[in-house]
Symmetry: C2
Amino acid sequence: MSERGCTVWFTGLSGAGKTTIAHKLEQVLRERGRKVEVMDGDVVRTNLSKGLGFSKEDRDINIRRIGFVCRLLARNGVIAIAAAISPYREVRDEIRAESSGDFLEVYAKCSLEELTRRDVKGLYAKAIAGEIENFTGVSDPYEEPLAAEVVFDSEAEGEKESLAKVVAKLEELGFLEPVGESVAR
Amino acid sequence: MSERGCTVWFTGLSGAGKTTIAHKLEQVLRERGRKVEVMDGDVVRTNLSKGLGFSKEDRDINIRRIGFVCRLLARNGVIAIAAAISPYREVRDEIRAESSGDFLEVYAKCSLEELTRRDVKGLYAKAIAGEIENFTGVSDPYEEPLAAEVVFDSEAEGEKESLAKVVAKLEELGFLEPVGESVAR
């Protein structure tokens, strides 16, 4: 069984499905016997980002910090999954560059219209009403990835399909043994 | 070969030998085929603690953050070595409690007199002159561990002896296979 670690970096607007697919991926990987950790918003807020705000500078520090932890895990054979809005392309690319190729960017795509319609947490309504400052996609920029390994569109496709895309890419890039192959060899 | 991870937490005043013995331990463990990461002052300042100061609150956040990263690594089979002054007993004990027993506290002991005499970085002289605020051991408290797994005294013993104590304790507690045993079994 392959024990090559990597960082799987989910990026995208709030509510686009990053955390949902990240945790479904975690489950698949555990079932396949892999070591996995998920750095989602809750984990990061509690353990890494206390004291940071939403300025570009603070966001960059936060993302670099998550990238650092993922890298530590990945080089020790863990599949480290990050689910963070991570709106700025430059800092995402910086983390990619520091990951020596053991990095997959997964873009959770969804239109602002659809996110505003869903608005599970009521955040978009507040942001549009000007009640939340620096809200990515509304009052703060989001820079789409130019060359993400995986793009899924949570508006057009189901969760199973999105998940399957990520799993297939991990297999294709050699980070995950395709099911059945370990027996066949 | 045992792949049980753990956190080895070096605590003690600045200059007492935490980082020195931590890196020597790293080398021994790598030679024995173990996965190791060292969270020393440089690594932490660069990657985890930007924006934090030296108030008790900020120090506690910093130490909890290092503890979190060590825990992530340890539960994935890595021996995570932390070398941080970590002056407050309560937060060290909190990290121990969250580590489900996979935790060793290593107290690098050295008298303030000896540290002031050595003063490799000239920090003690400045602190005593009042030029550095919140300097642990001079103008800020250091709470000695009450039940550290290992205590070494860098004033009374050589580096080899201190290192040997930590290695022996790791073997005794089952985190490290004693040399030769894997063949004998």
